[in-house]
Amino acid sequence: MNRITTLYSSTIGKKFIAAVTGLILFGFLVGHVAGNLKVFTGSTEAGVPHVDEYGHFLRIVGEPFLPKMAALWIARIVLLASVALHIVVVVQLAFRNLEARPVGYVRSKKSASTLAALWMMFSGSLIAFFIVFHLLHFTLGALPIGEFQHGAIYKNIYSSFQNPLISLFYVVVMGVLGFHLYHGVWSLFQTLGIDNPDRNKSLRMFAIIATIGIVVGFSLVPLSFMTGMMPEPIAYDPALLSH
């Protein structure tokens, strides 16, 4: 416990927490984007979209060892805790950094920092806002956007993304997420002390490829629905899901 409090009290420790939670959230994004791409793989013979089946699988995964929804809730709690910790340590560090540089320069010129790195707080804040919006939109169905039917993922997505403003908003936020990841995914390796001159190029390349993959993968969904390239949802019997 002493080690944890010592770690938390230092800036390197707080950055370690930001890096580890960032890594967890990055892992989540990779899984999320892979799951999303199931909207493109069609339906089962019984007419259930693959993405609906996948959503159902997430709810029952671990059965019969775990009760229904248990694994999903464990993942949700870990992810929400990661988001919360990520935000708390970063905000604490940001306040400290403001105090560390109380007076700015009359003339300032950046030599190396990228826009993505300088705008991390901005992109992060927008992503935090988006997470709330996105959960209200597609998890709880609490927003007056399109139709919402619990479990009918394909139908919900189809209905919401018919609105080009909503689709473009999602695409724009994915662009912002890309900025966050471009710096963040490399930065976490440096913070954890894993980067060195031997690996620097590979790690930065990894961050770039992962960022492009995630941004393009996520953006394809709203763009495809918005442009009318996707088939209309077909009603099916929800009982088909509970096999």
């Binding site: 800036t11 420790g13 105090e99 440096q190």
Partner: protein, 258 residues
């Protein structure tokens, strides 16, 4: 050469400062930046005004005394060059040049362009040493060191402690300085006995002085007059995390099997 200077003037730490402008007409391209400042001070003295206070010592790029942020960059626009090694030929005729002190909460302005960098001394005192016997001098090269490690350690040791990294960092972080000092001892066999104690003590001192946290911008590396790599910051992070999370507190206690 003609130049127009905008210089930060501040009487003392607790007084408010402001930028003041001066025109110089007789600047020679082969003057160093500090010689140009000397010419300005000469002129100000003749006019009965108070000269601009600035730090300088060796004027050959090794002591780390000269500071100044010139046109927004620590030690000016030329990479891996201290202010004293910067020459007026590096500027265009008629240039407007902004000269400001190193800015950081932990570096209070003493007067004009002079800042108090003694926070760095206290970081060194906290752990920038090795324990050594005081007996006869050991044979040179009696401890074998891998050449790559030796060279990297010397790269870190080339830090002159000027504080440009802090001035350059948008967060006023001293991570590059502290990591260079930690690494140049911690990489060598002679520095191993205190390796994990050192990283803890020096990082604690750095944070106690009120420096900001590293955000991996790499501004420090770009503006460091010795071009010290942020690889040392990664190394410091790894050592600090190991010291805090892994290194045993009790290495000698009894253990039980089960």
């Amino acid at each position: 050469m003609k130049i127009r200077l905008h210089v930060w003037r501040q009487e003392s730490t607790d007084k408010k400062g402001k930028m003041e402008s001066y025109d110089l007409d007789n600047v020679l391209p082969d003057m160093s930046f500090l010689e140009m400042m000397d010419v300005l001070n000469e002129k100000l003295t003749v006019e009965g005004k108070s000269p601009v206070a600035f730090d300088h010592d060796c004027r050959e790029g090794v002591c780390g005394m000269c500071s100044m942020v010139i046109n927004g960059q620590a030690h000016g626009p030329k990479a891996t060059t201290t202010t004293c090694q910067l020459y007026m030929r590096h500027f265009k005729d008629g240039a407007e040049i902004y000269v400001e002190p190193f800015r950081s909460g932990a570096f209070p302005v003493l007067q004009d362009l002079m800042v108090d960098r003694s926070a760095f001394d206290r970081i060194i005192q906290a752990g920038g040493y090795i324990s050594n016997h005081s007996g006869p001098k050991p044979d040179p090269n009696s401890i074998p060191i891998e050449p790559g490690v030796q060279e990297t350690s010397l790269d870190a040791a080339s830090c002159i402690g000027c504080g440009a990294c802090v001035a350059a960092c948008p967060n006023g972080s001293a991570s590059l300085f502290t990591s260079a000092k930690i690494s140049h001892l911690g990489m060598l066999p002679q520095g191993q006995p205190e390796r994990y104690e050192r990283v803890g003590a020096m990082v604690d001192q750095m944070e106690g002085e009120g420096f900001g946290s590293c955000r991996n911008y790499a501004e420090c590396e770009a503006q460091c007059p010795k071009g010290i790599s942020i690889a040392f910051i990664g190394r410091m992070n790894a050592d600090y995390l190991k010291a805090t999370l892994v290194e045993p507190v009790d290495g000698r206690g009894k253990m039980h099997a089960q």
